[in-house]
Amino acid sequence: MSIDILLLKNRIAKRIALEFEDRNIINLGIGLPTKVANFIPEGLEIYFQSENGMICMGEAPKEGYETFEIVDAGAQYSSVLPSGAFFDSATSFGMIRGGHIDACVLGALQVDQEGNLANWIIPGKMVPGMGGAMDLVTGAKKVIVSMLHTNKGKPKILKRCNLPLTAKAQVDLIVTEMAVIRVTDKGLVLEEVHEDVSIEEVVNATEADLIISDNVKVWKE
């Protein structure tokens, strides 16, 4: 990954971390979403749920302190905080489906103006499976999509997803390196534009219709 892309991804992660409230319980997806944990604002107590069966997940253990019985949902060695607990998968997804998770953050192949999300399959090409994503998107109180705005210039925020959906009308917020976009009943509202780009650039990189309010915030880092 080039340094530029890495910086952009960190920018997205940092912005998403501002969405949380004190004592929120959050589930982070693999990849970019995992980075969000590195940017939790000071003073906020945030707890992470890992769908393979742990709440109050700690940091990756130091070398020599790994145990093969504690891993995260990306199958990497992990740890648990003193406040934490372990549980089986049925309980874990009960937490998720039952609305006990304040927010989940996950990546997307496509997202559209009705809040539909596609992130689990490219038919004929890539069939990794949905894992826990469908349950998370259906059950979490708030669904935040974190992704680069386009796929090498090709828009990912569409009028209508054409890949098989992960869930229908569940996305609440889309954060990219260019903008913060909220999904509302009326459509996608452009709330913030990063200081490095113009509203016009965001519109050009987006296939979906954007509702642009008079007071689009400039997102300063």
Partner: protein, 221 residues
Amino acid sequence: MRKVVTKNEIKKYFFDGMSLMVGGFMGCGTPEGLVDLVLELGIKDITLIATDTATTERGVGRLIAAKRIKKLYASHIGLNPETGRQMHDGTIEVELVPQGSLAEKIRAGGFGLGGILTPTGIGTVVEEGKQIIEVDGVKFILEKPLKADVSLIRGSTTDFYGNVIYGGTSNNFNQVMATAGNIVIVETEKLVPAGSLNKESIHTQSIFVDYIIKGGGSNVY
């Protein structure tokens, strides 16, 4: 009944075309010694129920690599390229199930339920061919129960009667799968005398367990 047995004594429960549930999440909490046994016995055309197919060298991924699986129920297969390859060849039939739904299907199987109603998958390909049931105006998918001829479970600490405790995140699917196999075999890391486990902390109660094998498999995660 004496439950602690050798591998030799349980061979008779394995046969071509059988259905098998195997606990573990990306290999964490998979009874590797019992996977070894399935490989040694040379049985084939297995219907495998597992949340993922790990990697070609780890967990149930080894059964895929050895081409022993005919039908697979899983939520995620992306980290074992061999699963995708065999799926495209048509040598393995894959039914992808959302992870939370998979846990509940197994729980329903083990707990004597006719199925479960879940909102996960509504509006996606997951609902295709399934009954949709509306409850108080909300749509749910009827997910039917899953059972297996044999469940292979990995315990961290087990007493001679078959009360099991799972350490850390190694519980995952083990606890539900231990309820849903006609024969349930636990490979345990530690075997302890009856009475030495905290009775409030037991995850799988002895009533569910038929046989116990002292762990001899790889602990390497």
